[in-house]
Symmetry: C2
Subunit: 426 residues, 2 copies
């Protein structure tokens, strides 16, 4: 059978990984794809690198590559929205199939690109965009195809999970855990995308779009980072039987999709509570199958390239892509969902303060399930003590109005730390 | 597009699950498959049951169903080798595709059936045969297609994992944990297939055949059950930092495949050590991707039916099956592999016995990494005490010859309990 001719855009980590596996496993890939995979062209904006390009021609003009007649599949490993959107639009417009690891692009322009692919008959695949090499998109769209997926929850950013793990295991604060992550190469110099949840929100938008057959709606993901998590929160959570994790959660209920990335308390016995360091994991709740969990390396040169090439082999075998249905549901505001909440207040160390706070919350219909309070220390009047409360399930707006009343209370100082508690059950 | 016409063989648990999902999700399945999935015929040896057959005709002659012109895909949910082998051979011979949940059949006759499917151009799929609804075969053959898989280890029998979990958490002995499992419906009246590892060996033979592109060789799986595990072993393992799990392990090295089902000590921090109760999990070590783990329900009506219908939808979409390569490697004897071993001896409670035993082992080139020994009790001479040893990595034959010498030692009584220690690392 005729070779499948690949044009590679980008020679960063992932692009080099793709070349590495293509070189290392050319025989194995040909056997499994039923035809040779031939790298015909490589384009990168920088000058030709030291890497062995397996006989491919090199150019610095990506736009020329996507037009070239000797390229059947464009493998995009540049990243970021532009010029990738223009390049892949051009490729699909010329009926060239596209494989990409670009989560930002798919999360924001995935629907338009799918429409283009569908009308030109080309393939569009992006397994590598979510959770690195873990074949989670294939699991969702093919393995679980006979299910209505009800919810999914993932640890889908290795950097923030590394930081939370270090804070929990070594008692580091956020800044020093971040600094360690940067030293080890797990965090960028500017860590905003990772620690503020933007990267996870890109991935969650893709997961939710595929799991629920809806649009990719990055803008609709309620996103909250982990920079506000203090070591004391991790400690109190542990005393209550919870681990703090940075989760991406998506739910489908009443015809609407709810998507949110936020730090949350997870029961210490929950499977996602066991996920340590840079490892990624996605738990999927489906109506027939129940709960399954997919765990593995969420980033890295070869794991990500492994997913890119799985997509390429699917194209080479002529496997029809999972059907992407036209559908659109306005995401439900994450604020509508009832969960327990963790509250940490700093209050004046005066007799009766705990009772005044819980009475006020109770009047605002916020009921308390568990509390941790340091004993009143009569010897040092005027100091403040932390009070930690676990509420019964309530909504964010309901909680918010109670917290506003709490601000009027003279006993309480500083902002209240508010974290959701996620049971991770259907 | 024309409907895909399904003929269902067997109306046991899995068959009823298939009908249930087909009825519940007919719209969803049609949307995702791109065509209706129509159940045209059902055959079962028993009389027509109470179940709503979705308009399908019912018969008690399975052989007539596989010949029927209005059946495109035979969905086999009978189980066991015969009459299934004859039925599916007939179906494939008539170029009808086959989807089956039958692990015993595939593990022993999978190669012959694949050959038949390949020459008749029909599909043959069996995701449901391994680890219930977890899409592990798809992960291995498609998701990890760009990798050379190096090893895999699984908890692939829920019954035996339930029993070991109950023994560890409730201190039950094997018999009473088995009785509880039987009461809860997790174990059959005759539990041999599950607790002696035969069911796991069927699944492991399939996993290994697909992961390494080799023949399905059930007979080549070294199989050992869990009925010999005593509560004291679980307790000693815990004191040494290990959990006892019933594992299926397959490795590819030096062109040969090694497959074994056996109880083993697993480090308590290892992902498979966390798998409790009837849950299944498969860990896969691959050269590019590294280690990934797939966890979920390993049995049950709807989870298993979910996998059956995923295969059906793949056929309906016209997805070409992963290429199954003709290959054969003689499995390496499991005895050749070096691992640490756990040894539990019962010895006379006499001074110097520990030193005599370790000296004998050391002379036989078995070195000791850790030991647990009750203190000698001078007040009750003539009693026996357990001695537990963890050896450094060695082979089974080397260990065996040392153990034979040990039998000559007057200090030692009863058989030695011998369990492998599996690091579950590449």
């Amino acid at each position: 059978m005729s070779p499948l001719r690949l044009g590679l855009l980008g020679l960063g980590t992932v692009g080099q990984g793709v070349i590495s596996i293509l070189g290392e496993h050319s025989g194995l890939l040909e056997e499994r794809a039923g035809r040779p995979l031939t790298l015909t062209r490589v384009a990168s904006r920088s000058a030709k690198p030291e890497v062995d390009l397996l006989g491919a021609s090199f150019g610095t003009d990506p736009a020329a590559l996507v037009q070239a007649d000797d390229v059947d599949v464009v493998v995009e490993c540049i990243g970021g929205e532009q010029p990738c959107l223009d390049l892949l639009t051009a490729a699909l417009g010329r009926s060239k199939s596209v494989v990409t690891a670009n989560k930002a692009l798919i999360a924001t322009h995935g629907d338009a690109l799918h429409q283009l692919a569908s009308s030109s008959g080309a393939g569009l695949a992006y397994e590598a965009a979510v959770a690195g090499g873990i074949p989670i998109l294939k699991a969702i769209t093919e393995g679980l195809v006979a299910n209505r997926i009800e919810w999914l929850a993932g640890i889908i950013n290795g950097t923030s999970n590394y930081i939370l793990t270090a804070m929990a295991e070594q008692g580091q604060d956020f800044s020093s855990a971040l600094a360690t992550a940067q030293e080890l190469g797990y965090a960028e110099a500017d860590p905003t995308f990772d620690v503020e949840g933007i990267d996870a929100a890109h991935k969650l938008a893709i997961l939710a779009g595929l799991a629920f057959g809806r649009c990719f709606d990055f803008a609709g993901v309620a996103t909250e980072g982990i920079s506000g998590i203090a070591p004391i929160d991790i400690e109190y959570a542990a005393r209550l039987g919870y681990v703090i994790k940075h989760l991406g959660i998506a739910r489908f209920a009443d015809g609407a999709v709810e998507t949110s990335v936020h730090p949350a308390l997870v029961p210490e016995g929950a499977p996602l509570a066991q996920i340590k360091g840079v490892t990624n994991a996605v738990q999927v709740g489906a109506d027939a199958l129940g709960s399954t969990l997919y765990t593995g390396p969420g980033a890295g040169m070869l794991p990500t390239a492994s997913a890119v090439l799985a997509d390429v082999v699917d194209l080479a075998r002529g496997a029809p892509p999972p059907r992407r249905l036209a559908a659109a549901a306005a995401p439900m505001a994450a604020d509508d969902r009832e969960t327990p909440f963790y509250l940490r207040l700093q209050a004046q160390d005066r007799p009766g303060v705990f009772a005044r706070i819980t009475t006020l919350l109770s009047n605002a219909e916020i009921n308390i399930d568990a509390a941790l309070q340091q004993e009143h220390d009569a010897s040092t009047p005027g100091t403040t003590v932390p009070i930690v409360l676990l509420t019964r399930p309530t909504t964010r707006p309901q909680l918010q109005s109670a917290l506003e009343q709490l601000e009027g209370l003279a006993d309480q100082v500083d902002d209240v730390q508010v974290l959701r508690v996620e049971s991770l059950k259907p």
